[in-house]
Subunit: 349 residues, 2 copies
């Protein structure tokens, strides 16, 4: 293989972010071979906000645009007002870089314990395609007469044919590539009738181009119930930004916990870099103690490798994680870096 | 006890609705003693819609207003366009009769199996106080350029100080009456900043009046995860209309399934009758076969009894259900009416 160099932005962030990112990069390095990642690290998150009041300066956003791909650890700290970094940094990145697909596999690896009784890895193997750039996440809305007994606070879910169609098309592609070829739309079309109807009509129209894919619909409330009682129902799910946020956390819970859940904020048109990150937060309570599980970040690195066209390397990382997870119960407690070392050794071995 | 008569509206509805309502009324009758329920049955639901195109005519709504309390089975059928009966009948009733508290206990009864491994009845005993008259359920929103590539579909969540404060006050009262005295606000205040902030500020302000109640906050995505991994975290939850819809379905899933989940659409100010109903739908696939579990309806009858001030009768119904559930595994399959008979016998015995 000819050597190839890829520009990688790294945002370690806050709390356990830097710790898990270090292990992700360790594994990336071990699997890379002739592939080189030219890394630039960006100091963003709570610390920077405290120091400068900035969340994501335009100049940094401009630099990020020049990168090919981004790895993010976690941002956030209780000392920062809720929403500041989420909206100012995480969501701003997703919206500005047009990450319209938020890709979240929900997969129970062999050997991993799930809180569900009697469930095996065969029962939990799905991919959630969450819309990432519109819906209730737009920030549209406002407040009138704040702090008075007559206050009115609104939030608007904005959904466009453009935005809905592109994420649904992506989901059909994912479904078509999988053995079960089943795509379920999760929404609440009996209450959110305008948005739900747009999703339903678009699904039906695009379905005509994918006769090999079976489609299905499930209300979000019922879906959360089925995640717990019959997770096997699902193969690929397409859903809006807020419903996707909620169901992927239940997905993480049933598939072994938030320490294992990986995600990609993907711009499939490649007009800007995509960003890969564990679903978990910065967990300040365990930061700096070597207790964080770096597995979600390492699985996010596998998704990153897939995105840059290095499928073989991605499979090796996934296999190494899978092998490590299968032996974990027998191994007892290991530190963040011990887990990273073990997985890195497997991919290079 | 002096004899007393209460005007009860009964809406059996569609599918399994009439079957489960029959058992609910059987138990109500068995427990009533000197108490009389003057029943009026209302033909509403899919059948009426097909016959007349009506969901809830103004004249019927007017009659319902004159009742003291309402028992509803379930409405809906796949032959009716999604949203028609939900918005035209169920939600219209909740909004018109100002059911601002949607009360949903999540309780694992002894002997009931849960999909969660290693969880006991001590771990799952909470009450969700879901706002019922605003938030994303208002129907506010619209569609522009429908069916074109430039379509925009919006849904607006409308939240008022008036609406948020009254449901939060109610939740504090519920929390104050329970042994743990813990109230958790579930929202997504880091993204839905305007609405979330109104909920947060109101919670803090009202908390001053309830020093005995501990308050807490949890993002909705994390809450769904904790329902599965650590349900014990929760005692009383207050949340908006949509988040409440979602988390109470997971609640039903962890507490033995939708066949057991009861609910009350409550107007605490008693300016209009409250409505009690099982959380489940009309399940047309099993209708008319005597397969439906009437337990959720019977537990809704217990909530109804509480609401009309008959706490002792309510406790007897709950105890009878609890005793029946404890023996259920040993009893094998029983029909809808056999379960109703058994519980009715216990309350009258
Ligand atoms: C931190 C928050 C803004 C974010 C979201 O809601 O999308 C997180 O929960 C996630 O799922 O990535
Ligand atoms: C049928 C539907 C409108 C309703 C809701 O969303 O409130 C139902 O899911 C419920 O929870 O009672």
């Amino acid at each position: 293989m000819a050597s190839r160099s890829i520009r990688l932005a790294v945002i370690p962030g806050d709390g356990i972010g830097p710790e898990v990112v270090a292990e992700g990069l360790k594994v990336l390095d071990a699997v890379s071979g002739d592939l080189t990642f030219e890394q630039t690290s960006y100091d963003l998150g709570a610390a920077r906000w405290h120091r400068t009041g900035e969340t994501l300066p335009d100049s940094v956003l401009g630099e990020l645009r020049e990168q090919e791909v981004i790895l993010l650890g976690a941002v956030g700290d209780p000392s920062v007002p809720s929403g500041t970094l989420e909206r100012g940094l995480l969501l701003r990145t997703r919206f500005e870089l047009d990450h319209y697909v938020n890709l979240r596999p929900v997969k129970l690896f062999p050997g991993v314990s799930t809180p569900l009784a009697g469930v095996t890895p065969d029962d939990i193997d799905m991919v959630v395609v969450r819309e990432g750039t519109e819906g209730p996440y737009t920030g549209v809305g406002g407040v009138l007469r704040k702090g008075t007994p007559h206050e009115v606070a609104t939030q608007e879910s904005v959904n466009t044919a453009f935005g809905v169609e592109r994420v649904i098309r992506y989901a059909f592609e994912v479904a078509a590539s999988r053995p079960r070829k089943k795509l379920t739309l999760v929404h609440k079309d009996n209450v959110l009738t305008f948005a739900g109807d747009l999703y339903q009509r678009t699904l039906k129209r695009v379905a005509g181009e994918y006769p090999q894919v079976t489609t299905d619909y499930c209300h979000v409330d019922a879906a959360t119930m089925f995640f717990v009682s019959q997770p096997r129902r699902y193969d690929v799910i397409v859903t809006d930004n807020l419903f996707g946020d909620i169901i992927t956390d239940i997905g993480a819970a049933i598939a072994g916990g938030i320490g294992l859940a990986a995600s990609g904020n993907v711009n499939p048109d490649r007009t800007a870099p995509s960003m890969f990150e564990p679903v978990h937060g910065s967990a300040p309570d365990i930061a700096g103690q070597g207790k964080a599980d770096p597995t979600a970040t390492i699985l996010s690195v596998a998704m990153l490798l897939d995105h840059v066209g290095e499928g073989a390397a991605a499979r090796r990382v996934e296999q190494a994680v899978s092998d490590d997870l299968a032996e974990r119960a027998a191994l007892g407690a290991r530190s963040t870096s011990q887990i990273g070392d073990a997985i890195a050794k497997r991919v290079s071995g």
